[in-house]
């Protein structure tokens, strides 16, 4: 089922939770809505589910406008962050509840089939409080899947799991969605989840859509400063610059050299990802000089905090043997890896 949100706005008294949101979710697509808390991502999800009604705009399921259709009749399933299992019902009753409410036939075989698919058949007679976090999460998935919904909505379903479990649950979730080919909208604040799970990612901030695109597009071509800053750990290094001469620019009091002629002529925001910087010996021509302030070692990678100007510290993801805190080093980069943004409109500048 294709889902379209057209000019959706949701207003609560004085605050605007979602403003002029346009989304076109393709049939069978896994769309991740990413944003920090208060970005309006959960509100958007609740409007698709029907738990909230938009103040203005339409929501279309295929060609049908569903604004006035109650959630139970929209054929959507929602998995909640805290799972929202019914504590007074056994696992089997939790899973069969949506079928019983709809007075469907042949409930038992459907419950057993879904439970087996998710490895829950031994737990059917238990109560939710007797289950572990991962098991509860699978029961919540089973309750959502048992009635074969057209749309699958998830509100941070993995954030209550521990890190190891989250990794395996992520894989299972993606496989499940691909096998069933259900249109899925997945809300999260975790960018790793977003990048690994999503066919496309929609990034929201303060109720507005910032960018929508494949994980690769989002990472390689962030459309504005917010997205560039939001995606990537550690975040993109950014400084405000003022060109001076052909191959150098000024930021604050410090002058930097640029390896090729500068493509910009006016004040700009200059951004580079930490893994695109390489550490070279100090005094290398056209390298930026900096002082190692702190080295963060985490096994598979090393993040160096390098002070390049009095008030500017860059993250550099590069492993070099035999450097230590206090060393003076040079940072080299290729001019192709630079992201340019307009300091006023915050938008990306393409050449």
């Amino acid at each position: 089922m294709r889902i379209r949100l057209e000019d959706i706005t949701k207003r609560y008294r004085n605050t605007i939770a979602v403003s002029n949101l346009n989304l076109d979710i393709r049939s069978g697509e896994f769309l991740v809505v990413l944003g920090s808390s208060g970005s309006g991502k959960s509100t958007a999800l609740n409007m698709i589910a029907g738990l909230e009604t938009p103040t203005s705009g339409c929501i279309l399921f295929d060609e049908l406008m569903v604004n006035q259709i109650p959630p139970g009749k929209r054929d959507v399933a929602l998995v909640f962050q805290n799972y929202a299992l019914y504590p007074h019902m056994k696992v089997c009753d939790n899973i069969s509840f949506p079928l019983r409410i709809r007075k469907e036939k042949d409930i038992h075989p459907k419950v057993v089939k879904t439970a087996e698919m998710l490895g829950l058949h031994d737990l059917l007679q238990k109560y939710p409080k007797e289950l572990s976090g991962g098991e509860r999460q699978r029961v919540a998935l089973a309750r959502a899947l048992v009635r074969n919904p057209q749309v699958f909505l998830m509100d941070e379903p993995l954030s209550n799991l521990d890190a190891r479990l989250r990794l395996s649950a992520r894989g299972e979730l993606k496989k499940l969605q691909r096998d069933r080919n259900i249109t899925t909208v997945y809300v999260t604040h975790d960018q790793t989840e977003a990048l690994t799970l999503g066919d496309r990612i929609a990034i929201m901030d303060k109720g507005c859509l910032q960018q929508i695109g494949t994980p690769n597009e989002i990472y390689q071509k962030p459309q504005n400063i917010f997205v560039a800053n939001f995606i990537g750990t550690p975040p993109m290094n950014m400084i405000n610059i003022e060109p001076c001469g052909d191959c150098s620019f000024v930021s604050g009091e410090t002058t930097f050299e640029f390896p090729t002629p500068l493509p910009v002529k006016t004040n700009c925001v200059f951004g580079i990802r930490p893994e695109k910087l390489t550490i070279v010996p100090a005094n290398t021509p056209s390298a930026i000089e900096g002082l190692i302030e702190y080295i963060e070692y985490s096994g598979h990678e090393t993040i160096n905090h390098v002070k390049i100007a009095p008030n500017t510290t860059w993250y550099v993801k590069d492993t070099v043997e035999r450097i230590k805190v206090g060393d003076l080093i040079g940072l080299k980069f290729s001019s192709d890896d630079i992201h340019w943004f307009d300091p006023i409109t915050q938008a990306r500048i393409e050449f």
Binding site: V76, A84, R102
Partner: protein, 293 residues
Amino acid sequence: MENQKNPDAAHLKKIVFNMKENIFKKLVFYPCAIFVILWSTCPFFWILLTSLKPASEIMQLPPIIPDTYIIDAYKNVLLRSNFPRYLLNSFMVSLSTVLITIPFSLLAAYGISRFSFRGKTFILFMIIILFTLPSISLVAALYKLFYTLGWINLPISLVCTYSAHNFPLAFFLLVKYIDKIPIEMDSAAIIDGCTRLQTLRYIITPLSLPGIISTSILIFIFCWNEFLFALTFTLDESTRMSSVGIALFEGTYEIPWGDIAAASVIVTLPLLVFLVFFQKYIVQGLTTGAVKE
């Protein structure tokens, strides 16, 4: 091992603190608790003894512990008076009140807990005002009302009064209880295809059952004990409530203290049984919302 031989300072401090706490418990807490318990249960034991004494010993002062116990008073109350009838009246009125109050207050509590709407604060305010109205201020007006309706000496007058009178208490207890149930429960039920009323029936009611039980018991006890309205509206022998029945026990030449004592004990028994069976729920109901969970 070494740790046990040389407990460190913090550990020692803890031991000293525990000892202090023990001494405090032994010397202050327990005597006080025992005093309070005796203070409040003494009258009841006195009544219990009185009900078992021969008539000649009842008025003796200081009261004596009798040598022989007799159950004549109980026989009088249960077999030779209208008291069993009064008990049945009390039971029926209390039960009807509970059965009417609970569904209404549950619906109201669910609505107030889950929806925000214009005038919500005003409604809450009005319910609080209802809560604070003293019974005595209503008696005359209600008497006039029931007299006009022809309900005097009919149990319905009491059921109506008690239901209205207990509604605020039941409502507030249930609101507190339902507020504790996460809103996602409702959302999940609605996504699963429930209407609002189905959500209330299949999800909210079972989840607030402890609250409903404790509220029911509190209402039942209130009705069982109520005296003022019962005395005013139902004086007739056939509809008299047990609380009024005790007060109006008739003797030929003197006040039958033995019978009154026996009736008092009998009236208390159902409440004691309730307490034993539902103790957990009653305590829960009284302390709901008292602490953050």
